[in-house]
Symmetry: C2
Subunit: 294 residues, 2 copies
Amino acid sequence: MQGAILLGVDGGGTKCRVRARYADGTAIGEASGGTANIFAGVDAALANIIAVSTAALQAGGLSADHLARSHAGLGLAGANVSSFAAELAARPMPFAAYALETDAVVACRGAHGGRDGAIAILGTGSAYVIRRGPAFTLLGGWGIAVSDQGSGADLGRSALSFALLALDGVVEETALCRDILAEFDRDPSALAEFAGAALPRDFGRFAPLVWERFDAGDAIALRVVGQGVALVEPMLRRLLQLGAPEIALLGGLAARYQPLFAANIQQRIVSPEGDAMDGALDLAATLLPAGVGA
Amino acid sequence: MQGAILLGVDGGGTKCRVRARYADGTAIGEASGGTANIFAGVDAALANIIAVSTAALQAGGLSADHLARSHAGLGLAGANVSSFAAELAARPMPFAAYALETDAVVACRGAHGGRDGAIAILGTGSAYVIRRGPAFTLLGGWGIAVSDQGSGADLGRSALSFALLALDGVVEETALCRDILAEFDRDPSALAEFAGAALPRDFGRFAPLVWERFDAGDAIALRVVGQGVALVEPMLRRLLQLGAPEIALLGGLAARYQPLFAANIQQRIVSPEGDAMDGALDLAATLLPAGVGA
């Protein structure tokens, strides 16, 4: 008997991952599966959370019966939507207990091993979290229309915008612009139609091309990335100003951005200690009576 | 008998306006009515064009029978959508003849009395047209996602974006930010939800507030408008580079922007000679045999 079981659930936008361990730290197993995105519906999200949690237990040789002695830390995209927590609370839950936070907050828990610190998530979107003791503050991350500055979606959209300006002769038509325009047969109305209906991931598809051309010194790619850096840096400075001892960069663009930040920011950047599932396990551990567990 | 009748149809996004005159320049009448926006359907647009044209004739004491001896210049929003001209051509038309261009192109015809020149439309959206002899070139105007820089919608969206940054403490919370945040009860998720579903006109509703606060020296309003100027000026410079002798500024923001442009741009700015209906009449006149009309 290794005490209570903890389940760390990282329910991001596209998939759900669960890590199971005993309260003393002994590993049980891990699994991943379909989305726990609440925007697909609370019941569908919960069904996936239970299925993936069960699979994580089974990966360690434990049957589904053990869900009932499990304490689940749920880090779910959209958990900050006010109605969601109430809807979830109204459902029968198979766990001994559960606690709920957004996926960004558990990512911050995981990145700093339960200590104070901050994260910047630089992926298709962008968002920032700072932990000071028991309090987590979220910055940015309100979607591409008015937020998510410097994200992959934002870089991609900006590149498309420059491509149109190049077509009008307002900026130089660099290789980046030519590549983008070629995708639309150089028809601005086709590009505009795409952009009018594009989701963040659609704009984000152009981000790798921006970075590739950035590496080659493309003048427009330098401007697009430069704007991104100029938008992300103030957010990082704000995290430091709020007292973050260290900032971990997460997300697909983290490694690309890091070397471009000012030196006094870079010296405060650390590698994440653990991932969002570790953070969700940290959250799950808060459900145990004090003194229990590792 | 004052010869053929010309109808100048300005079919913008929200309403249709028609000016009727004889080929010798004698005025007949004017009328306005519902939208001739083709995105509401070709038949609905055509029905409004005919109704408003009839009303313009009747305003001058002429019956609907005179449509059949009228030459119509149609300046319609969306006329550059490739399928539209074909669809219109397939409909029975009540006019002796008609010619079709976008509303922006007839606005350029009207602004310069049929001579070479350029226009900048600075309203809810933004777009540019330059006329060189028989050729019209359109720049910008591809929608707020990737174009329409400096438009009212763009300024409004930018202000919302700064309001969110103010809430995060990343920029100073000026009166402009406070006013905007108050509209959303200082709830960033309410602002984000609005922005995610907002149409250009919804963002544009915040533009008058930006200009009002700009007049009062609000630091964020100065940044928002400054960005607008920095985005519009390169388009105006491009029009000059392409050979525009003069630029007329049109749209609701024209008077606000004009004093902010660099001196060497301002000295090329002129007041429009005529409006889009005059431009549509200029287009209609191209349908007459050479030598006929004023």
